[in-house]
């Protein structure tokens, strides 16, 4: 267990703010201000800028190219990056696959996969959900059968975010049909360029392309790509899911949306007492989320991380984001009625990006374990069975 370097949270926050103001390229800032969905190129550019700054992988162990940051510092970084509107870090590599390999991978696997993550040359996606295994993740059916030095993987993954941009997928597969629901699962790294992989987009209500179906038809995956051992899939998955939930708090994004809302108080909605009341109420919920998030981050920093904290943040973070985008759309009046658009255009049509964001946010209470699943997790931890 590494000891995180001491840091001054307020000074660091100020440093990230100054950095974002200075380092975010103008064209990306313009997109952020118009709520336009970032392309892969945008994201790669920004991730490399962050890497140059030494912050991209700072939460990794120093032995593997990180800086041993604690949870609190990483949380502040993410919050401030979101608040500044910078392109969302694509967590599948840097926040999930990387730390997973640092924790459970072999030296050879780290040598093979970590550099591509650090340099943003290899993009990752997450192969968890299947048509028959959504909230009930342990129902995964995709099979991986040993054949010489390979596994032959067959099945279907779905809701695979950003698979269209990805080179690799870490996938939860069943290596043993006889073993128990959890014990038969393994985590394997699949090269998406391999024969037998096909990726099909899923059209979503927000008009954005972000989720896909990934079909795996007798895909040969070297045994080398098995993480930890056969049967360790559930342990690896829990590790990744534990990393994921605090990230979906999106406190910084909530603050950004709140500022956008409060700015509407200067416009035609200013005299609308109900609108103002609603914004103030959202400000209250934002403060509650912030307090909850920092209590959890400080607890995690002290090594007392609780699953319950992450689940609470997931529930409240998603609810708040939806409520903020709901109020924003209302506040925009008829420009909130535009069809959603990825591109957006100059001028008044930029609200189309906001509409897409609003619609996209309906997913926040579904992905990463739906809010009902989170409630079950909390109940299991706190209440008698």
């Amino acid at each position: 267990m590494s000891v995180p370097a001491l840091f001054d949270p307020d000074a660091f926050r100020a440093e990230v703010r100054a950095f974002c103001a200075r380092a975010l390229p103008g064209d990306l800032r313009a997109k952020a201000d118009a709520n336009i969905y970032f392309t892969k190129d945008d994201r790669v550019r920004w991730q490399r800028i962050l890497h140059e700054q030494g912050w991209f992988a700072a939460h990794w162990p120093s032995a593997h190219g990180g800086a041993d940051w604690g949870q609190l510092q990483r949380f502040i970084l993410i919050e401030e990056l979101e608040y500044a509107g910078t392109p969302w870090i694509t967590h599948f590599g840097i926040s999930f696959a990387g730390p997973l390999l640092c924790a459970f991978g072999s030296d050879a696997q780290r040598a093979a996969f970590l550099p591509g993550i650090l340099e943003s040359t290899i993009w990752w996606c997450q192969g968890f959900s299947e048509p028959g295994a959504g909230s009930d993740l342990a129902a995964v059916q995709t099979s991986a059968i040993r054949d010489g030095d390979d596994y032959v993987v067959s099945g279907q993954k779905t809701w695979t975010t950003m698979a269209q941009w990805a080179d690799m997928m870490f996938a939860l597969v069943r290596t043993d049909r006889e073993a128990g629901r959890h014990d038969g699962l393994s985590l394997i790294l699949i090269d998406l360029a391999a024969p037998g992989v096909s990726i099909r987009p899923i059209g979503t209500i927000d008009g954005l392309r972000h989720v896909n179906e990934v079909f795996l038809d007798e895909v040969r995956v070297p045994r080398f790509n098995l993480v930890a051992g056969e049967g360790d899939g559930w342990r690896c998955t829990r590790f990744i899911v534990g990393m994921e939930r605090p990230l979906v708090t999106e406190l910084g994004k909530a603050r950004r949306l709140y500022d956008e809302l409060a700015a509407l108080c200067r416009g035609p909605k200013a005299q609308d007492a109900v609108f103002r009341y609603r914004i103030a109420e959202l400000g209250l919920r934002l403060e509650a989320l912030r307090a909850l998030a920092y209590t959890a981050a400080e607890r995690a920093e002290d090594g007392a991380h609780a699953d319950v904290d992450a689940s609470m943040l997931k529930i409240r973070g998603s609810q708040l984001q939806q409520a903020l985008l709901d109020a924003l759309l209302w506040g925009k009046g008829r420009s909130g009625l535009l069809a959603p658009s990825e591109g957006g255009e100059e001028g008044y049509r930029s609200d189309a990006g906001l509409v897409a964001d609003h619609l996209h946010a309906r997913a926040t209470s579904i992905y990463g374990g739906s809010n009902e699943i989170q409630a079950n997790i909390i109940a299991r931890a706190l209440l008698p069975a």
């Binding site: 108080c265 416009g267 009341y277 307090a291 909850l292 609470m312 409240r316 409630a375 209440l383």
Partner: protein
């Protein structure tokens, strides 16, 4: 709970333990016992005979008070009155009053929270006339702080009157939660001017908001624990009803609300101790969250107890009534969010048509 404390961890644990021991001792809580234990002066300075501890240490006492349903004027005396006095410049009378609270020699009330009581009127000899309504904890008020308008003075002053003065007439009433309360009629009662009312009342509100949040956390926690225990023991359809997912999800919602309040309270205590900028808004939000959590948790607790929740046999109804009282005295969600809405940006003044 991780609240800032200036006590070392051992003293802090001892303090928490001794308060908890006292509360579960079975005796009716008394002001005298709190004074004997030195708890009334927890968050007052050593100069005033207090412990010199931070507000976070006093919060521990209020949490217990909330959980056990104490009906003592802690929020009024240690919250409002001390908050007002501490916001005033040092002076002989002020310092003496604070010392008397710490020593348990005097219970002091404040009659000037917004809304309910119009300011009294002071004549040139500082004799006050007016009505102060709904002072909770009616049994004993040794001193009462009163906001009053003094002719010729631009700002209202905060005065102190002797609670036993003959020109002060008391009408005893019983509040919704069973607390004794009084309406006070001031008929030319002699008073001492302490300073401007404005900052003092803000100080009163700040301290009372934190302590009321602490009490709310205590009562919400007790209501939630009692509800879980009830649901685990109550069997219907052949099983404990706590196993039903609909019930479990409701309990989770109550739990999160309580956790939010706890996190906000901890942040507010730190901000209060350091008088950080933005404290006023932060405390209005804390007030809103307290009010929301108090009423939601206790009304859900009644519902989840079923018919038993309606009986006077259980504490649940008492917690609900206390939540209603706190709502009325210190501000409801609507009051607090309304203040915050008012503080939002306004349009830049353009030319009028």
């Amino acid at each position: 709970m991780n609240l800032a404390s200036c006590l070392d961890p051992d003293s802090r644990t001892m303090l928490d333990d001794s308060i908890a021991r006292y509360a579960s001792g079975g005796a009716a809580p008394s002001w005298e016992a709190l004074a004997t234990n030195g708890w009334l002066g927890l968050a007052l300075s050593e100069q005033h005979g207090g412990y010199g501890a931070t507000i976070g240490d006093l919060v521990a006492l209020l949490r217990i008070a909330g959980a056990h349903g104490w009906r003592l004027p802690l929020l009024q005396c240690l919250g409002e009155a001390c908050g007002a006095l501490l916001a005033l410049p040092p002076g002989e009378v002020r310092d003496c009053l604070l010392s008397r609270v710490a020593a348990g020699e005097a219970v002091i009330g404040l009659c000037a929270m917004e809304g309910e009581s119009a300011p009294a009127l002071a004549d040139q000899e500082h004799r006050l006339t007016g009505t102060c309504r709904f002072l909770i904890g009616g049994g004993r008020w040794d001193h009462v702080l009163v906001e009053a308008h003094l002719r010729g003075r631009p700002r209202n002053g905060l005065f102190v009157v002797d609670g036993w003065a003959p020109q002060l007439r008391r009408h005893d009433i019983v509040a919704i939660d069973g607390s004794d309360a009084v309406d006070l009629e001031l008929n030319g009662v002699a008073a001492t001017l302490l300073g401007d009312a404005g900052p003092a009342l803000a100080g009163a509100r700040h301290r009372a908001t934190i302590l009321a949040a602490a009490e709310t956390l205590g009562l919400a926690g007790a209501a939630l624990d009692a509800t879980c225990a009830h649901l685990a023991g109550r069997r219907q359809f052949g099983q404990a009803i706590i196993r039903f997912q609909a019930i479990r999800h409701r309990l989770v919602e109550l739990h999160i609300m309580k956790q939010e309040l706890q996190a906000m309270l901890a942040a507010a205590c730190a901000a209060y101790d350091e008088t950080r900028p933005g404290l006023d808004e932060m405390l209005w939000r804390l007030r809103a969250q307290s009010a929301r959590a108090a009423l939601f948790v206790t009304s859900e607790a009644i519902q989840l107890h079923g018919g038993m929740g309606m009986t006077s046999e259980l504490d649940i109804g008492g917690h609900y009534k206390r939540a209603l009282l706190l709502d009325g005295l210190f501000g409801s969600v609507r009051d607090a969010v309304g203040v915050l809405a008012f503080a939002l940006p306004v349009p830049d003044q353009g030319p009028t048509a």
